[in-house]
Amino acid sequence: MTGPVIGPVTGVELGILGQLGLVLVGVVVAVTVPPAVRSRASGSVSVLLGAAGAATGAAALAGREGVVELPTSLPLGHVALQATPLGGFFMLVAGGVGLVAALYGIGAGHGPSTSRTFCAAFPVFLGALQMVPAAGDAVSFLVAWEVMAVASTVLVLAEHAARAEVRSAASWYAAMTHLSFVLLLLGFAVLAGTGGGTDWASLSRVDPGSPSASVAFVLLAAGFATKAGVVPVHVWLPRAHPAAPSQVSAVMSAAMVKMGVYGVLLVTLRLLPGGPSWWGTALLGAGAVSAVYGILQASVATDLKRLLAYSTTENIGLMFLAAGTGLMLRAHQVTPAADAAIVACLLLVASHAAFKAALFLATGSVVHASGERDLDRMGGLGARLPVTGLAFGVGALGAAALPVTAGFVAEWALLQAVIHGARPEDRLVAVIMPIAVTVVALTAGLALLTFVKAYGIAFLARPRSDGAAAAVESSGSMQTAMISAAVAVVALGVAPGALTRAASSAAGVEPGSATLTGVDLSGVGASLEPLALLVAGALALAVVGAVSAAGRRQRRPVELSWGCGGVRADPRMQYTATSYAEPLARVFDDALRPERDVVITHAAESRYLVERVQFRQQVVDLMETRLYHPGLRLVDRAGTAGRRLQNGSIHRYLGYSFLALVAVLLVVTL
C-alpha cells in the first residue's frame, strides 16, 4: 500500500508511514487473533499507534518536516500527507488521547467490545483521526475525514444488540456526520473551483475578501461546527456518547470533536488568513451560544455520560469563542490580544483533551463497576472505587477550571485575551468583549456547579442503589489509563510553559513563555505561574494541618450523622442530582423548560394525609424539539405523499417509462 518515497526518509515521514503500517497491523491482528487474547493484542497495537501519533505530532511541532505521497487509483490524484506545526499539535493531542483510551480498552474488554469488528475498527478510527491533521490537500483531508466518520459510527454501534437506544443514536450520528461531510465537500469545491487545485497552496490563492471565499467559509465553518458539536448541530453528541463504549466516547469527545476546531483554524489561519471581521464575530457568537446552552443542559443532566457530552459542547463553544475573538481582533489590528486568544484556543483544546479523557474513562469504570449511568442512583463510590474517584475528581477540577489544573490555565489565558481586546474606537468590539467575558464567567460558574454535583453525588455520601453499593474497582490497565489522564490534567496545569510554547508555534505567533512552569502572555502583559500558587497553597495547608495535628484529640466515630436530630439514616433522604440542580432549573426555567410529573397518592382515611408522592422530571433538548422535529415531520410527510406515486399498478409504471422516454428525447433534441 505504501508507495515509493523519493529521497531520504525523515523522522516525520517515518512516523506517518509507521502509523499507516500500524493501522494495517491492527486490522490484521483483530481479524486473525483468537478471542481470548484479541483485546490485549489489538489494544497493544492501538497503544503503539497512539504513541506513534503523539511522537510524530511532537516532531512536527518542533519544526521537523516531511511529506508522504501515496498513489491512489482514484481519478483525483495522489494522497499527500504532510506534517505542519498546527497539524502536529492536533496529531499530538489525538495520539495522546488514543494511547490512553487504547490502554483502557485492554482492560475494559468484555462482551461486544472484544468483537472482531470492534477491534478492527478501533485502530482504523485512531489512524484516520491522526491522519486528518496531517492531510496536505483537500482530497486526502476528506478521505481521512470520511474514514474517521465511518469507523467511529461502527464503534458507536458496538453495543447495539444489548441496548435499543444505541441504534437510534448511531443513526443520528451517521446522519449528522455525513451532513458535516457534505458541507465540507461543497466548501472545498468552492475553494478549489476558484483557486484552481485541491492542494492547500492552490486553495490559499483565493482572495479572502472575495464573495466566493465567504461562501466557502460559511460552508466549511458549518461543516466543522457539525463535527465539533456546536449548537444547534450538537444533537448527536448527547446521544452518541452515552451509546458508545467509554473508551470510544473518550476518543470521540477528547480528540475527534477537536478536528472541527482544527478545521476552523486551518481555514481561517492557513488557507484564508485575513478574512473579514464578521467571520470572527460569527464564530464567537456560535461559540458563546454553545458554551452557555451546553453547560446549562449539563448542569441539569442526570445521565453521567450525557452530562459529559453537554460539557463537551460547552468546551467546544469556548474554543470557538476563543478562535472567533482572535479572528475578530486580528481584523481590527489588535494583534497581541488576538494572538493570545488563538493560543488560549489551543490551550483549551489540550486541557479539554486531558480532563475529558480522564472523566470519560472514569465514568466508564463507574458504569463497569456499578452498572449505573444515572447519577440519581449512584453515591458512595469514592470509598468503593478510590482510583476511579481520584481520576474523576481531578478531571472534574480541570473541567471546573480550578487551580492548579490545565483547565484553569486555559481559561485564565482566554480571559486575559478578552479583557485586553477591546479598544474604544471599535464600538462593536467594545460591546462584544464584555459579553464574551460574561459568557466565559457564567459558563465557568455553571461548570463549577455541574462538576460539584457530578463528583459529590456520585462519589460522596451513601449509595443510592444496590449496584452502587456492590461496586468493585476495575482492572489494572483501566486504572493506569485513568490515572495517566489525570496526571496529564495536573501536569499541564503545573507546568504549562512547554504547552504554551507548543501552542504558540502551532498558531504561528511569537512564543511568549520563557520558562517551563510559567505562562507569559507578553503581548497583553500578563503572566502566571501555577507552581508558585501550588507552593503557596501547600505551605498554607501544611501550617493548618500542623496546627490541626498538634496534640489534638482523636476523632470519635459515630454510627449516625446528626442530620438535625434524625433518628435513622436512609439513603433516600439524601439530595440527588435532580434535587441538587433544582434551584438552577428553576432560575433558568424559561431556557430549559423541564417537564415535571408529580403524582400524589392520598391516604384512604383523609385527603389531608399523603401516602406517597411520585416526582419525575425530564429535561428535553429544546433545540431538538423545536428545530429538528418539525423538519423531520416535514420529511416524513413528504415521504408518505411520495408513496402514492408507487401503487403497484403495472400500467402506471409503463406510463412513467413512457413519460421518461419523452422527456429524454425532448432534452436531447433541445
Binding site: P434, A444, G456, G518, L533, A536, V544, R553, Q554
Partner: protein, 324 residues
C-alpha cells in the same frame, strides 16, 4: 519589581506574611464587631468583640465526631477552605502593593482560589449524606454560579484604566491618582462588586448567618455535620474570606495607607489603616443588615442580575468615556 534571582523575594514575603497575620487577628474581630453592632441596635447586649476567638478556641479543643459513611473530604474540606482563605489573604494588596514576580495578585487567580474554597465547603455539605447538607450545598453553588459573571465583569471594569487585572497595580494606580476612585465607572464597578461580595460571603439579604431555622440556611446547612476542629476551620476560613473581601472593597474605595515600599513603620501604619477601614466597613454592613430581611432564594438571582447590569454599565461606560 525586579530580581527574584536570589530565590526569595523578601519584601513581598514580608507583606504577604504580615497580611496573613493581620487578617487572622482582624477577621474574627470584624465578626465580633458586626455581631455586637447588630446586638446593640436590636437592644441586646451581645457576646462582645472577643467572642469569635473564644468560639474558635473552644472548637479547636473539642473532640470532633466522624459519622459512619463520611469520606476523607469531611476532614480535608475544612483544611482546603482554610488554606485557600490564607492564600487569598496573602495575595491581596491590603497592606502593601509589593508582590511576588512569579505570583502576581491577578484578580482572576484570586477569584479561582476563592472558588476552590467554595467548592471544598460544598463538597463537605454533600459528604455526610443528610438532607440539609445537600440542600445547603445546592443553594450555595447556585448562588456561586450566578455571582461569577458579576465578579469577573467588575474585575474587567476595574482593570480597564490600568490595562491589567493585577490587583496591586490597580491599587497603586488609585494611590497615584485618588480622583480616579470617584469616577462613575469605578463607583459602578465597586457597587457591583459589593453586592457580589455580600452574596459570596453569605450575608443578608442573601443568607442570614444568624439563622437557626434549617430550611432557610445556606452556609450554615453545609457545616451542620462538622464538629470540633473541622468546624473551627470552616468558621475561621469563612471569616477570613469575609475579612479579605471587605478589606479589598475598602482598599479599592480608600487606598490610603497601603504602602508601596516595605518598611516596619509603614507596615504598622498600613495595618492600622486597614483596621480603621475594616471597622467602618463592618459597622456599615452590620447596620444595613439590621434593616433588611433575607430575601427568598429565588429572588436572589434578581438581585445578582441588578448588580450584573451595574458591572456591565461600568465596562461599557469606561470605553465610552475613556480618553483615546
Amino acid at each position: 519589581m525586579s530580581g527574584s534571582e536570589a530565590g526569595v523575594n523578601l519584601p513581598a514575603l514580608t507583606v504577604a506574611l504580615s497580611q496573613v497575620v493581620v487578617l487572622v487577628v482582624l477577621s474574627p474581630l470584624v465578626i465580633g464587631l458586626m455581631r455586637t453592632v447588630r446586638a446593640r441596635l436590636e437592644g441586646r447586649v451581645g457576646g462582645g468583640l472577643g467572642q469569635p476567638f473564644r468560639d474558635v478556641r473552644k472548637l479547636l479543643a473539642k473532640e470532633p465526631i466522624r459519622a459512619k459513611g463520611t469520606s476523607w473530604l469531611s476532614v480535608a474540606g475544612p483544611l482546603v477552605l482554610m488554606a485557600s482563605s490564607l492564600v487569598v489573604c496573602a495575595l491581596m494588596p491590603l497592606l502593601g502593593t509589593v508582590t511576588f514576580d512569579r505570583m502576581p495578585d491577578d484578580l482572576f487567580v484570586v477569584v479561582s482560589v476563592l472558588l476552590l474554597g467554595t467548592v471544598a465547603v460544598a463538597l463537605v455539605g454533600l459528604d455526610a449524606g443528610t438532607a440539609f447538607g445537600g440542600m445547603g450545598s445546592s443553594r450555595h453553588m447556585t448562588i456561586a454560579a450566578l455571582v461569577e459573571p458579576t465578579v469577573l465583569l467588575a474585575v474587567y471594569a476595574l482593570s480597564i484604566p490600568v490595562g491589567s487585572s493585577v490587583l496591586s497595580r490597580i491599587v497603586a494606580a488609585r494611590l497615584e491618582d485618588p480622583t480616579s476612585v470617584f469616577s462613575p465607572v469605578s463607583l459602578l464597578a465597586l457597587l457591583a462588586l459589593a453586592i457580589a461580595v455580600v452574596a459570596e460571603t453569605g450575608r443578608l439579604p442573601v443568607d442570614n448567618p444568624a439563622t437557626h431555622l434549617e430550611l432557610t440556611m445556606v452556609h450554615e446547612a453545609m457545616v451542620l455535620e462538622s464538629s470540633g476542629r473541622d468546624l473551627a476551620w470552616l468558621e475561621l476560613g469563612s471569616w477570613l474570606r469575609l475579612g479579605a473581601l471587605l478589606g479589598l472593597l475598602a482598599t479599592l474605595l480608600a487606598p490610603w495607607g497601603v504602602v508601596t515600599e516595605v518598611s516596619a513603620p509603614g507596615l504598622l501604619l498600613a495595618a492600622l489603616a486597614l483596621s480603621v477601614k475594616l471597622t467602618v466597613a463592618a459597622t456599615l454592613l452590620a447596620t444595613v443588615e439590621v434593616f433588611v430581611a433575607k430575601v427568598r432564594l429565588f429572588r436572589v438571582p434578581e438581585l445578582l442580575a441588578g448588580s450584573f447590569v451595574l458591572a456591565f454599565l461600568a465596562v461599557t461606560a469606561s470605553y465610552l468615556v475613556a480618553p483615546g
